[in-house]
């Protein structure tokens, strides 16, 4: 089954994302900020990255930019969790190499649908 890296500084969001995806049979690894996520992504190959944007230490956009530069993450889908109001964040994220986004707030079904769509 596909492996997913879920990055969010909020424990409740992380739990929710991870619980939902695990329930659908995916293997999920969690990280609390971009730096931690980067370390984990380099030590293990993931099929999908889902990351929050605003995080301490390293934000989601910087994380995506760094990871997209890695050879084995060139074509891996990376999704940002973002709020509707953050229009320019979407653009920044895209510029950094994000595949797409999931608009917050979202419910577990929306999350699963998007993930299924991306992972095929």
């Amino acid at each position: 089954m596909a492996t997913i890296l879920a990055v969010d500084d909020s424990a409740s969001m992380r739990q929710m994302v991870s619980f939902t995806l695990k329930g659908a049979g995916y293997q999920v690894t969690e990280a609390a900020d971009g730096q931690e996520a980067l370390t984990k992504a380099k030590s293990q190959q993931f099929d999908l990255i889902i990351t929050d944007v605003n995080m301490p230490v390293m934000d989601g956009i910087t994380f995506i930019r760094h990871l997209r530069g890695e050879a084995n993450y060139k074509f891996i889908p990376m999704l940002m969790l973002t709020t509707e109001s953050a229009g320019d964040k979407k653009a920044q994220g895209k510029a950094a190499g994000a595949t797409g986004w999931i608009v917050k707030p979202f419910n577990p079904d929306q999350l699963l649908n998007t993930v299924k769509k991306v992972l095929g």
Binding site: T20, D52, P56, R68, F75, D109
Partner: protein, 674 residues
Amino acid sequence: MSIDLEQFHETFFEESFEGLDIMESGLLELEQGEVDLENINTIFRSAHSIKGGSGTFGFSAVAEFTHDMETLLDQMRNGERQVSVSVVETLLGSVDVLRNMLNAIRDGSDIDVDSVAETTVAIKAILGLENTTTDSVKEQVSEAAAKGWIVHFTPHIDIMKTGNDTVRLIRELNSLADKAEVTVNNDALPPLSELEPEDCHQSWVINLIGGEVSEDDIREVFAWVDDECDLKIEAMAKEDDYIGPERRDDDRRQKAPERRNTERRSGKSSESSSIRVNISKVDELINMVGELVITQSMLSRFGDQEDFTPATIERLKDGLAQLEGHTRELQESVMRVRMMPISFAFQRFPRLVHDLSTTFEKKIELIVTGETTELDKTVLEKIGDPLVHLVRNSLDHGIESPADRVKAGKSETGVIELSAFHQGGNIVIQIKDDGAGLNKNKILSKAKEKGLVSQDERMPDDQVYDLIFRPGFSTADVVSDVSGRGVGMDVVRRNIRELGGAVEVKSTPGEGSVFTIRLPLTLAILDGQLVGIGDETYILPVISIIESLQVKTENINAVAGNAEVYRLRDEYIPIVRLYQIFGIKPISTDLENGLLVVVEAEGKKIAIYVDDLLGQQQVVIKSLETNFKKIEGLSGATILGDGTVALIIDIAGLIDLYQKDMASSVVSIKGAAA
């Protein structure tokens, strides 16, 4: 798949409250003129997380409220808005509102709609926004669904470099409609020798037929690659058909009541809250359990032993000693899991002092030390209110007005020091101010006026100061909304005693006062001295024992009524015959045949008369209140090694009980004389 989001609520609340605390302390720092971008960022992130979480978990009122705060903070961090005192004050106010909202939701009570509306208006005013009705949902009535669509999809060359996949997009389109006809255009494809496998040179035309697809639906599919492709959507033919929008209305109507349900959570008691434990503490536990297992396997070998030689008995003793050591360490490690730094209780004080010093027009500097001192979680939760009261008290009554301070030759700014540290198995918390000190004469005259002491009573300073903890005592000249309601200090003392602690005050006129709170490290276990009275065993907390001694008859003095005191060096200590208070038949009523245990609580000493000292051990405290009922003079019970129940004496309570006994017997003597 339906997932119950409620299981994440507790975590959400916990981190939201943490986030609010972070915002609060961040804002307070801002107010002191330190415009630090990282600080604003941190505040923003907290607001952002709360907004995201509340939206996701269905608390839309919270999300809506936080939205404007977030916008304001976003402007601040982008440098679009000056950090001014009024903006910070408004944000501080909204932190409070948000905290109340979250509390209300968690407890299932009603949100204070007025304060939410008021603060929302204040923030919108700063943002320069009209208070538009928030549910002005942009109702984009999409075009009537067409019979079919022709989609011209021409991706840019780099589309795959963001992890997007043209095949996925087409597959998704396909899933929308009943039928999709896909034509690929390979005209732009370079010769194989020049082909870069990472580039995209193809374009597609997709005919979507049937399936009530709207143009928005199609745009939605391409939302992520909006600027990475050229997209042209043409309708095949139009039909008058309103099925689409109508169905949406139905959806919304169904969703509305559902949301209300989630927002008002069934009043789950907050007692069952979770605890965050440092991973190193858990590792320590696992390590200890490992040690225990080793000891256990070592001991179990003796079970197979045919006959015991002195050597094996020696090894068995060693093993048992190890077992004891490990059990104790394990117990301590488990206790540490419940321990949390006192900063959880201290962190609200900068804000409190800030707000109160504005109210009272005083200048106050708050110094906090020892925030990392750890305390049992239960104790920590319950010590908050008494601490708030004491700090308020110092601020209100202790520190003088700037003018008075200057007159007294002190700096305009008063200092309140809040500190916590360990001292002999106890946690000590001190609240120290450099104010005027307690006014001894005022206290004494007030106490006399209230009939708390007799008119001609003379007492040492410390005892006079102690009067402020008596029920119904207040010296505030004017009753303010902060302190001085005359219900305070006695409640503070009572609350602290319920935690097995003690509070005392020391004061020097003109230099200030120090309130000292002593608390046990934990409420669950106590180092106990077992004492025998008749057939019963009682337990005295070792911490309060000063010494135990054999009685010399010449040192016993009888005073008024049936009170006895014992002369110990230069002190006279009241003798308390425990068997009298608890109505037990002792082995002997003759003091010479038993022992006196001198104990101290809150600066008062008594000598407890017991038949025998039995030994010391750690005892697990079982609550009397939950299993039976509260009894004055007892703090709980425990079960001893042989299965019998022993009661644990609450020394401070016992002293009170004894003094009340004495007072009533004095009154009855007076009554008889009259």
